[in-house]
């Protein structure tokens, strides 16, 4: 590490009411490298980056960028100076088009008017260069979270910055887009751009990192070249103890069918989807982005209109038209879009925990019980928060996710659907969540796990349903699971070509 650094942060301190998020943290980044930040949920990674780009003012510490001391007062200043950031929490302008989002705040002009044509063309050019398949005219709100994420990535890179910060960019992506992103990152490196990368996914970190800095509870632990580290060593430094990454699958008796979905359709997104879910079973859903998994779950849960087919619970047909109806049928859905339809940002952790369960607190509402229930889940999911009265938007991303999981567990559902349940969750907590899911199944609950992480789906599921463009293309038993087979069903062309080969034989 003899080259000089493009960025040096020293002794950074950041205090919030009730928490010291950063306590004298340092970070030294070399140009043309991928520098990964690791640490548990709430370790202070995002906060450190926000101090760098001027979103937060650090209470103490110095930042040296390209040899000069800097202290940005706003993100615009940082952007103009060549530092851009992809935020952990997306903030798209939903009513605008993709291209308008990419060029937001720096629209190309013709005289005093926005030059929409150029905007569109530049956008297509960018997409082409990065190999991203998106329609620049599509309204942002029609995109899936993964596609929104790709837009954010394209946007951050379009600034031609010297440092690009990526805060958990892959948490919403599937493998193929992750590959696109890694290709983009390689190109950036070749142009001597430094990438600061935050992620909880071990395998990808070891694939792309040059340097790894580790943080714990707002303190700096170490920086090493990735080749000198092992996965176990990183985890040990992150949590201060050793843990196993994957929770072992527990065998449990699978009971009768509780949920039967028959030729369910919803517009163009869900086409004649059929499957059965048993008591005590964990049913995984795999597929590429746009496969319609999220949309299928939203249709079952009454969030989007059903245009065909039927849903049966315990053999009886049910007509679920709203999340309220779903709740009455004891179905819970942890949605994928944490910010959009998950958290109530300005309200407290307590409120966010009990909100789906309000009807059980009687009249007048039993505030003591609310507090007790919240405390139970704070302890059970080890949620890191200064108090249960803190606003949920002030929690780290992973801890927000845990609160939402707690919200749904609290409703004691018979059918629990979790869409990307461990998005942005650190390794230790992930194993813990897998254990909770497994325990619920053991207690006879039926669970659907939608996940873009194949190891996760394969690790927890009894069976896996694979979807492609709104249709179910395959169902695999646990004993037949393999990454290759899932990918084949997920990219249907190959399955077809395979069956053609069979016919040819």
């Amino acid at each position: 590490m003899s080259e000089k650094y493009i960025l040096e942060m020293q002794g950074i301190v950041k205090e919030f009411p009730g928490v010291k998020a950063l306590n004298g943290v340092q970070l030294k980044v070399r140009p043309g490298t991928v520098h990964t930040l690791m640490g548990e949920n709430g370790a202070g990674k995002s906060t450190l980056m926000k101090c760098l780009i001027g979103m937060y003012a650090a209470n103490a510490g110095t930042i040296t960028y390209k040899g000069r001391a800097v202290k940005y007062k706003s993100t615009e200043e940082a952007l103009n100076d060549g530092i851009s950031m992809i935020h952990q929490e997306l903030s798209p302008v939903l009513e605008r088009s993709v291209s308008e989002n990419v060029w937001l705040g720096r629209e190309p002009k013709k005289g005093i008017f926005i030059d929409y044509k150029k905007m569109r063309q530049d956008c297509l050019e960018l997409f082409g260069k990065m190999g991203v398949d998106l329609n620049p005219d599509e309204k942002m709100k029609n995109l899936t979270v993964a596609k929104m994420q790709m837009v954010e990535i394209v946007k951050a890179i379009s600034y031609n910055s010297s440092i690009v910060i990526m805060d958990e960019p892959t948490s919403a992506l599937t493998d193929s887009e992750v590959e696109d992103l890694f290709r983009i990152i390689a190109e950036l490196k070749a142009k001597d751009v430094a990438v600061i990368y935050i992620s909880h996914k071990m395998d990808e970190i070891f694939r792309i990192s040059d340097d790894i800095s580790i943080f714990r509870d707002g303190t700096y632990i170490s920086t090493d070249q990735a080749c000198n580290l092992t996965q176990d060593e990183v985890i040990k430094r992150m949590v201060g103890r050793e843990i196993t990454e994957m929770f072992p699958k527990q065998e449990c008796g699978i009971g009768e069918v509780i949920l039967k979905v028959d030729k369910l359709s919803s517009g163009k997104a869900v086409k004649e989807v059929s499957f059965e879910l048993h008591k005590g079973e964990i049913l995984g859903f795999a597929g590429l982005v746009g496969a319609g998994r999220t949309e299928t779950m939203e249709t079952i849960f009454g969030m989007r209109p059903k245009t065909g087919g039927a849903v049966y619970i315990n053999g009886k047909e049910v007509n679920i038209k709203s999340p309220q109806d779903a709740a009455a049928n004891k179905i819970a859905l942890l949605t994928e879009d944490r910010r959009g339809n998950g958290i109530l940002g300005i309200l407290s952790v307590k409120f966010n925990t009990v909100v789906a369960n309000l009807k059980t607190y009687g009249f007048p509402v039993d505030s003591k019980k609310m507090a007790a229930d919240t405390q139970e889940y704070i302890d059970r999911l080890s949620i890191k928060t200064p108090s249960m009265d803190a606003q949920i938007q002030d929690l780290s991303g992973g801890n927000q996710q845990k609160v939402l999981l707690g919200r749904w567990l609290l409703t004691d559902p018979d059918i629990l659907i979790v869409d990307e349940p461990t998005r942005g969750i650190d390794v230790g907590a992930k194993a813990e969540i897998h254990r909770i899911i497994s325990d619920l199944a053991k207690a006879g609950k039926a669970i659907i796990v939608v996940s873009s992480e194949l190891p996760e789906v394969m690790g927890v599921s009894d069976r896996v349903v694979i979807m492609h463009e709104g249709r179910v293309t395959g169902v695999l038993d646990r004993c037949n699971l393999s990454q290759e087979l899932i990918m084949k069903y997920a990219t249907k062309e190959e399955v077809e070509s395979k069956s053609m080969v069979r016919e040819g034989e």
Binding site: S322, I343, I346, L347, R407
Partner: protein, 325 residues
Amino acid sequence: MSIQRKKFLSDNMIWLVLIALVIIMSIANRNFATVSNLTTLLTGEAIKGIMAFGVAFAILTKGIDLSLGAVAALVGAVSGALVQPTDFAMRTLSSGVRLPAPAAILIGLLLGAAIGGCIGAIIAYTEIPAFIATLGAQLICRAAAKMFSNRPVSKLSDDYRFLGSGRVLGIPMIVIVFIIIAVISWFILVHTRFGKSLYAIGANSQAARVAGINVNANLIKVYVWCSLMAALGGVLLAGRSGSSDPSTSGLNYELDAIAAATVGGTSHTGGVCSVTGVIAGILILGVINNGLVLMGVDDNMTNILKGIIIIGSVVLDMRKNIKKV
């Protein structure tokens, strides 16, 4: 430590402002801090205050209600017309009986609730902005009131006037009603599922829906509550003066109510509202009104000061309650 102190200041800013104002007014004018003046102050603000509790619920859910004053006028005229003397030559309703006050008031409140139900249903199901829906309702209700009676509805019966101008143990009934409404509002917001749902809807209506809250039904209830408060205000206004003029009764009251709720920290970005805050907001504007009149300050100056306070309070509030990106 300094962070703690900052937090204390920002949480209690509004009360500090109120206390400061009271001190300034008491020093500036000896007649301010007298029982009789403070009673006048409270009686003057009570009706707007009641409407402020109404509109605060709407603002909490990111809505607004511009129809309060007009609904008050309509309800005041209709219920007032039911308690005029039967032999009164200028009677609004040419035929008909004279109802006992409770019946007339009940009819007035039911009328208010019905109007609120319509407004709420339009807002909930058509998803047009509350601003537009209630602006329309304002025009319609004011016009309806004027069509109902083209002259003041006067000579209201004494029992009807009790709420607006009576006293119990020397305390004006109007103030007692205000306090009761404050307590009910507090109870709803803090201790009922309905109140909790409103916070959730205001904070993130999509997320509230996913969490199983019936957003539309709750929005309808919000506007029923708003119009109910407006109707109560109309009854009190008519009772206070003994007559109700459809063209001027309650005029611009919605603006004062919105101002009080806003100064009281109810956030127009939704999800933030406290009854104590709204009370403080009502009192701050009341103290300014009353104090400056006592000091003989010109009406225009008073309004300029009020304008500054309203804008300032929202600026402060936005700093405190930003939804973070």
